[in-house]
Symmetry: C2
């Protein structure tokens, strides 16, 4: 039985390592897409457009690992919650990869036009989204609800920037019709970045749910006194 517990823990560690690897890949893809946009570098943009395969393969592998863990070890309580959280996180990370492709598609169109403006807020949104993603995964591996809460707070900052980007670009579009097409692509890119922040938020919420359910179990509420 002791050995069975050890095996389970090893498998769970391997699963978490794969999720971190996926997170690293997803983050990298967002970084390169934004870099390609800012530097107007088609080679970087193309790399993101074509490079979704490793993330998709990990997505399938992680799903399969989760099933195996559930079927072979029939985990309970926290372990069960951790694996169900992993199933959800896996889905979130795969979608972040898709969103990086969407950003690259819009960037590819954008660089065929004259630049609308110097890009400051969008790269900042990219940095925030990447940090949120990294922190959300760290909070999962470390069962760190404070870090998870920090991710939720960052999401407000991302939403604020998105609104600011929208207002500014709208002004350009209203005053100069030649900016309409490229400004639209920047607006779409800022919304993809917001969605990446939403996926990080989902992960952080799963972590809080997973850990606080544990806390409730370990510290049952005191009996009501009269």
């Amino acid at each position: 039985m002791e050995q069975r517990v050890r095996h389970f823990q090893e498998e769970l560690d391997a699963l978490q390592a794969r999720l971190l690897e996926m997170g690293g890949l997803a983050e990298e893809r967002v970084r390169v897409a934004i870099q390609g946009l800012v530097q107007r570098e088609p080679a970087l943009i193309e790399r993101v457009m074509r490079g979704d395969e490793p993330l998709n393969e990990l997505h399938i592998e992680v799903d399969s690992r989760c099933f195996t863990l559930l079927a072979l070890y029939q985990p309970m309580a926290t372990d069960l919650r951790a694996i169900v959280a992993a199933v959800k996180i896996n889905t979130d990370l795969e979608r972040v990869g898709d969103l990086a492709v969407n950003i690259a598609e819009a960037a590819r169109r954008y660089v065929t036009h004259a630049p609308v403006k110097k890009l400051i807020d969008i790269p900042q949104m990219g940095d925030i989204a990447q940090t949120m993603l990294r922190d959300a995964l760290d909070s999962f591996v470390r069962r760190d609800t404070r870090l998870a809460q920090q991710v939720l707070n960052e999401d407000d900052r991302l939403d604020g920037l998105k609104t600011q980007v929208f207002r500014e670009l709208l002004t350009y579009m209203l005053h100069d019709p030649t900016t309409v097409e490229p400004a639209l692509d920047l607006i779409l890119i800022s919304r993809q970045l917001e969605r990446i922040g939403d996926h990080a938020t989902n992960i952080a919420e799963d972590v809080i749910f997973m850990v606080s359910a544990l806390d409730v179990r370990h510290h049952p509420p005191a009996p009501i006194s009269e």
Copy 2:
């Protein structure tokens, strides 16, 4: 043991009934949001903005039912796959509710401007997205991969309409700056509808994965003959 199997089946049926109920609510919210947009009816739009609570409550209930089923019955094979699929579908349906709110927010801004054009493609996109959602859930409950495949095909039609809507509205924006703001909101609404189609697609893919893994188990590949 027989009784245990029957109890499990009853619980699984109850879980599926809740998912269908969620699907019905999500579909209704999309329908009302688009109706509010087309009829320019603030009361309908407000109803969608404020009415996310029942769907959120079902989301928590379904998650909790999935955990209970996994923990109490430790299901294997198809049953395990069905419950993991339910966890994912639950997430998709909750997000559709959020997207209906996003549509309502854009609609609320849209109706403060003069109409850009008679809305034809967007209501059609709404109809397709709702049908995809309904069919995806039906395919889950009936384990019907053909219906699931049909959902995947419909997604191409939705994407085609989204591109058409984008091109048409871009033309308006380029020729008449007064249309920039409202046309932007219509573009955003068409993207939310596309995302609803993506969630239906996710559900359909989960169904195909769930059922085909079952088929592989029931019909192992014939041994390789020399």
